[in-house]
């Protein structure tokens, strides 16, 4: 463990007993005006987006745009290769016999949309992110098992470790921990 002077505070973590408690806590944190907070759970909890005051995810737009680009690219590629760059008449069909090109167009639309959804999701979630202040906490490890946590980030404009600690205690948080690390 390093000396205290080189450490910084990352966030304050509080544990809650159940999905229902976490949902109530999220509403209270939101109403108290905190912005940089998160609710950690082993599985997604229904209704949590509204409780935290989050907008709908943008992944859909990314996937949609990627899918359209994929489809357009596929049709362009097939048109260009078979009419411009390498025009060969096969079984008497026109060079741009587009009905035959639908399958590859459809396939690449799906492929690009899927890549867009996955890469877009990782990007919006800032993943992979192998370092995070929360990983300093030993108890936080239980989020992926059966525990429910609220964390309020030190970057929040209203952050003050002591006040946040008291606040989280007042809304029913347990095992409150101020997370420090190098």
């Amino acid at each position: 463990m390093a000396t205290v002077s080189t450490e910084r505070v990352y966030s304050v973590l509080a544990e809650f007993g159940s999905p229902a408690e976490l949902l109530c806590a999220a509403e209270k944190v939101r109403d108290a005006g905190y912005q940089k907070f998160d609710c950690h759970s082993p599985f997604p909890i229904h209704g949590m987006d509204a409780a935290m005051g989050l907008k709908r995810s943008k992944v859909g737009y990314i996937a949609g745009i990627c899918g359209l680009c994929g489809g357009a690219f596929a049709m362009w590629l097939q048109w260009w290769t078979s009419t411009v760059d390498y025009p060969i008449v096969i079984s008497g069909k026109p060079l741009f016999s587009f009905p035959a090109y639908i399958i590859v167009t459809f396939g690449l639309t799906i492929l690009f949309a899927a890549l867009g959804a996955v890469i877009g999701m990782l990007h919006l979630n800032r993943l992979p992110q192998w370092f995070h202040g929360l990983f300093y906490s030993e108890s936080f490890k239980r989020f992926s098992d059966d525990a429910f946590f609220v964390s309020i980030d030190a970057d929040d404009p209203r952050f003050d470790a002591d006040r946040v600690r008291v606040f989280l205690e007042s809304i029913g948080g347990r095992n409150i921990e101020v997370i420090r690390g190098a």
């Binding site: 390498y86 098992d145 059966d146």
Partner: protein
């Protein structure tokens, strides 16, 4: 009968999806422990057997590359033999994964959570086996990159009007999308394993693989939508992939192949065989790894019902083909079907009909539908039948328009060795998965436990 019993037997009653009074912690523990404990003797024996069979594949493919496709029983008129039969067989098996993970997800069939990881993994491995066969059938495997639109010094491009090229795209895109679906689903579970890790190596490896997942709702929000989108766009893939595979046959002018019923008929058969393979593996894994609380009899019964439905669709297609062959008035078409049922390959035809049409009828009876032994035997017979279905279709080639060119196709020892070897590849991959990857999607199973509902017993 008491009131509660009446409710339990009445319509609309859903028995619990997960039994044994599981809690969030017990789900993590029971599923993770399988990947954390030392390998058991049973696993080692099974793995040794699978790898031995895999070596058979390496040997036969190595000899194929050395000697060429002449070692197979292929010849004119049967220029497509075991290789395409096996390809279609394995791709078909690979259909249950997406059906379970995507289609059942969209239909909010929450029972899928116990078997989706399982089925998705099986899909990946089956598609790997499937991709093997056309890749080695090209003869010069080192020129395989010609199938992709890669700019090259010859100034050539693939022929995008060919169903064989559609296949390349359909199957490789299917594999890529299934892999992404599988891995995205794995991220929260890998985080669970990471957080349980006791050794440094596991902590580092699982830490890297889980991308630093923190389970915050800001992450879940994007994650859930991405998963929904993947499910939504993979759903047409379930229908399209095997439809495209069927166009390999249907766009040709061979009697018995040139029919419009092929795409839906192939898709139904694919789902049928895929569920049968999931069933075979689920019954074994459930017993060996003590997963009875997660993969309950209820799950197995639902899968049997799907097999009954898709088996009837396949049976309908067999009948319909015969009807159309007669109704078309085309002598070649009629001959092809009479020849299937009564010609030199009649033995294969009747194996197919018995296994695919008659065997699933046992699932009408609840007692048999819920009997592990019956469903295990039936699932194996169904896959035998589905292999023969593809064999019967491909053997239409043996008697085409000109009687002078008729022949009787027989596989050589190398055809059989490669086919058997592909099972070695499949089971090697599956056993590695069963030992090192959580077999059941923990975060999804936790979400369907009663305690996961925020309205459960709370005041909210």
């Amino acid at each position: 009968m008491s009131v509660s019993e009446k409710i339990e037997n009445g319509p609309g009653f859903e028995p619990p999806l997960i039994t044994g009074g599981q809690t969030f912690a017990s789900v993590s523990r029971k599923i993770s422990e399988i990947t954390e404990r030392k390998t058991t003797i049973t696993w080692l024996l099974a793995f040794g057997a699978a790898v031995s069979v895999l070596l058979l594949l390496f040997g036969s493919v190595g000899y194929l590359f050395w000697e060429g496709t002449g070692i197979w029983g292929l010849n004119v008129p049967v220029a497509w033999g075991f290789d395409i039969v096996n390809f279609v067989f394995w791709v078909g098996i690979g259909h249950a994964g997406t059906l379970i993970s995507a289609v059942l997800f969209l239909f909010r069939q929450r029972w899928r959570t116990s078997i989706n990881r399982f089925a998705e993994s099986m899909t990946l491995f089956a598609v790997i086996c499937a991709l093997l066969f056309p890749s080695i059938h090209v003869g010069r495997a080192w020129l395989l990159y010609w199938v992709f639109p890669i700019p090259n010094q010859m100034g050539m491009w693939p022929n995008f009007r060919s169903p064989l090229l559609w296949d390349v795209f359909a199957v490789s895109i299917y594999f890529t999308c299934s892999l992404m679906f599988w891995y995205v689903g794995l991220i929260p579970d890998l985080a669970t394993l990471r957080d349980r890790a006791v050794t440094r190596v596991r902590r580092i490896v699982l830490g890297i693989l889980s991308f630093g997942w923190r389970g915050g709702n800001r992450q879940w929000k994007n994650y859930e939508l991405a998963y929904l989108i993947l499910a939504g766009i993979s759903t047409p893939l379930v229908l399209s992939v095997h439809s495209v595979v069927s166009t390999d046959f249907a766009t040709s002018i061979i009697p018995g192949w040139h029919t419009t019923i092929f795409p839906p008929y192939f898709v139904a058969g694919a789902i049928f065989s895929g569920f049968a393979m999931v069933m075979t593996l689920a019954v074994i894994a459930r017993r060996l790894l003590h997963l009875e609380d997660f993969i309950t009899l209820g799950h197995l019964e639902k899968m049997n019902k799907i097999m009954l439905v898709t088996g009837m669709m396949v049976g309908y297609a067999y009948g319909c083909e015969f009807f159309i062959a007669w109704y078309s008035g085309n002598i070649y078409e009629s001959f092809a079907f009479v020849n299937r049922a009564f010609g030199p390959y009649a033995w294969a035809y009747w194996i197919m009909v018995s296994c695919n049409v008659l065997v699933p009828q046992v699932f009408w009876i609840k007692k048999w539908r819920t009997s592990i032994l019956v469903m295990f035997v039936a699932s194996i017979l169904i896959n035998v039948g589905m292999w023969f279905e593809r064999f019967v279709i491909v053997m239409s080639l043996a008697r085409d328009y000109l009687p002078s060119s008729w022949d009787y196709y027989k596989p050589t020892i190398w055809d059989i060795a490669t086919f058997v070897g592909s099972f070695g590849l499949f089971f090697t991959l599956f056993l590695l998965f069963a030992q090192f990857v959580p077999m059941i999607a923990m975060s999804e199973v936790k979400a369907v436990l009663p305690a996961a509902d925020p309205h459960h017993g709370g005041k909210h």
